[in-house]
Symmetry: C2
Subunit: 191 residues, 2 copies
DNA sequence: GTGTTTCCATACGGTAGGGTATTGAGTTTT
DNA sequence: AAAACTCAATACCCTACCGTATGGAAACAC
């Protein structure tokens, strides 16, 4: 028989809920804000609970990185499944995904993880795996358009370097028609 | 009369020495490692001294940002003082400065400040000022080569976005001839 | 019902670090 | 030399965390 009266509605979380909360903190405050007491408070519980689900803080961090890595790789593979002839569109779309502002959170996480990677080997490994996958997928699209291997590799590298770099810039200058500049750039990169 | 006997060689620091030490920490550990006790230990004194030179931690942070901003703007102006006809070379040089590994520390500081800017308005302002200066200087070089305003702006933006983005990527893939890819890219950007 | 498992709360000890107050040692000025 | 100034050492207090130990409440198994 169900007890639906919910006398105090005790919050019950699983490992995944903790990881998702951690990702949210990562997006908002970066890796150094990813603290267990802060996360517990956000989830409405105390850290006593945390240590039931995770061995320690490092355990959470590794889980977050794994989660992020898998998600990114899944997304890339989905985005670059272009039907023949649609490669150019797929490339433009890849650029737009990171340029557009409707993906704020994803970009914030990306930046946070990349900064994290500067001092954490695990994070660096995750970034490296994601980068490798992205580069090969983009490269495949360029190659499908009959481009030479070398140029395809170079353009793939340029594409992703540009995309991440652009998200780091604070452009008060050129403020008039950024969108138009960016579309010009996207054309140059994807030919 | 000079006392040169230095019986215990008491460490004597001025504000500038503290700032330079802070920059070193920033390069190695990022903004969140910029702590006064850590910095004091690195300089061989205790934090009791720190609070004589600075009002508080924020005071140091602002000084560091000011120092960085001024240095960057000075460098950009120097690097982009091309004699007529040398604009292309100056642009390639600008790309190389951030691509080459002999500028490790500068790149690390750049990355640290940019990450810092994601959560600190003062840092964001410094980055914005530096970006604006860099973009206008690069744009001037493109324009000097007879390029249209719009294309010059777009290429300037691409140049810097690419340069910073490249420093964020962990490329295990394409590991064979990165240097050659990068020079191909530099050519594409600077035409 | 009575275990048993699952999950959370409470309380505690430990470390790192920011900030202040005070003292004191060199150095410079008078 | 005496006074004044400069800068560092020491000793605090306070907060934010990490991690552990223990107990307790709910859900599930029988």
């Amino acid at each position: 028989m169900e007890t639906r009266i919910a006398k105090a509605a005790r919050t019950v979380l699983d490992r995944d809920a903790w990881i998702k909360g951690a990702i949210a903190i990562l997006a908002e405050g970066g890796a150094q804000r990813l603290r267990v007491e802060v996360l517990a408070k956000r989830l409405g519980v105390t850290k006593g609970s945390f240590y039931w689900h995770f061995k320690d803080r490092r355990d959470l961090q590794d889980a977050v990185l794994e989660f992020w890595k898998d998600g990114r790789i899944r997304d890339i593979r989905k985005q670059t499944q272009a039907e023949p002839g649609g490669e150019a569109a797929a490339l433009l779309h890849t650029i737009e995904v990171y340029a557009s502002a409707r993906n704020r959170k994803g970009i914030a996480i990306e930046a946070a993880v990349r900064d994290w990677a500067r001092h954490d080997p695990q994070a660096a490994a995750a970034v490296e795996a994601v980068d490798a996958e992205r580069l090969t997928c983009a490269c495949r699209l360029f190659l499908a358009r009959g481009m030479a291997q070398r140029e395809a590799e170079a353009r793939s590298l340029l594409l992703y370097a540009y995309v991440f770099g652009a998200s780091l810039m604070r452009h008060g200058a050129f403020t008039n028609d950024i969108a138009s500049l960016k579309s010009w750039i996207a054309d140059l990169i994807s030919h």
